[in-house]
């Protein structure tokens, strides 16, 4: 029996379908779990928190969801070493829950993906995320090549990493900076960062390497038809670069 993956759906989640579709396409045994059935979450082996606006991002992005009953199960699972992967709003929830960077107590956040800068607006832009850690540092990225470039879409109003200087140096020192923004040819510079994120951060990992939070959406550049720069010879229904990270996640479960 292959490992079971839950995609929890909060009121306001909006990216559950493509997340589920890509997980299944990559061979994952995944299903949606609704907020009205939170207790079912105890029975899964891994969790993928998808994008959206859980609880309308009331108070702060991810703040209410982080205290939702569904997160009780996810937090317990993370503590027991199960894999937890959050994308966009899912990442914001993981930060609010204190699971990443995980440098403080549970539900006492030490960092935030917050209001974009310099212009405080929603931005929808194609980006590349560059793997900034040793692949095996995080179980979810273990099957990626070193320095992997993952195409994705930034689509958020609150994706800028912000933290106090002490916490930012903890993030760097503790090897929590999992992904940084880069241009299509892998060059890392300010122009590649869509939202003013500190450290050019696109994703963070916890100390144990089993919880990963990324802001951009690789599941929206998951098939060649999604990818604007595809070659004419590419099969449009075949996976594109964004699926690499999901594939690595599913592989980690298979080898666990």
């Amino acid at each position: 029996m292959s490992a079971r993956i839950a995609v929890p759906v909060f009121p306001g989640t909006n990216s559950e379908d493509e997340t589920l579709r890509l997980l299944r396409d990559c061979g994952g045994n995944a299903e949606l779990v609704h907020w009205s059935q939170a207790s079912k979450l105890a029975r899964y082996d891994a969790y993928v928190l998808s994008g959206g606006f859980a609880y309308e991002d009331r108070i702060r992005a991810g703040a209410i969801a982080a205290h939702d009953r569904m997160m009780d199960y996810v937090i317990e699972a993370a503590a027991s070493g199960k894999l937890v992967f959050g994308i966009c709003n899912g990442a914001q929830i993981l930060l609010e829950a204190g699971l990443v960077p995980g440098t403080g107590p549970i539900r006492r956040p030490t960092a935030a993906f917050t209001r974009n800068g310099p212009a405080p607006h929603f931005i929808c832009r194609h980006v590349y995320m560059k793997l900034a850690i040793e692949p095996v540092r995080c179980a979810i990225t273990a099957a990626l090549p070193e320095g992997a470039l993952v195409p994705a879409w930034a689509a958020h109003a609150e994706g800028r990493l912000a933290a106090t200087p002490e916490h930012l140096s903890e993030i760097v020192g503790g090897g929590h900076l999992a992904f940084i923004y880069a241009s299509a040819n892998g060059i890392v510079d300010a122009a590649a960062v869509p939202n003013g994120s500190a450290l050019g951060c696109a994703g963070l990992v916890n100390r144990e390497g089993n919880v990963l939070a990324i802001m951009p959406h690789p599941e929206r550049d998951a098939w060649n038809f999604n990818h604007l720069d595809r070659r004419e010879s590419d099969d449009v229904l075949a996976p594109s670069g964004g699926s690499l990270l999901f594939r690595s996640f599913v592989q980690a479960l298979a080898s666990a």
Binding site: R58, I59, I64, H67, A162, A163, T164
Partner: protein, 138 residues
Amino acid sequence: MTRAVAIALKIPDNTAFTAAVALRRLGVGVERVERSEIYFFDDGGDVPALIERITADETIFNPNTHRLTVLDEAAPRPGEVWIEPLDPVTLSVSKGDGEKAATSWRLLGRNDASLDQEALRAAAERLLCNPAIERAVY
């Protein structure tokens, strides 16, 4: 001089309602929460002119959904905690600058009695304030 203006919703405030529910789950004995956005204006000496400026422009105020209060002091009132962003946004309101300075949360217990400092502190630490980007002022 700097003036603080509080803008609250006249229509039901879902965020305040959700905050109250979440805080009770977290063990804060709150019955009701009132929320308002606090703006600072540097040229706020002339109160009627300031009100005119804010209401003429609709960047932060819509008369059908908002209630506006000019505060006597730019500080939290009893029963309130202000959550201030560490890097506030400056916005242009009728060709003058205003600063979105804080979100004010007023916590009320039974019979609408204001909650004490200890309860406010617990509410801020457990939910209302993310210290990575905000600070709580009582």
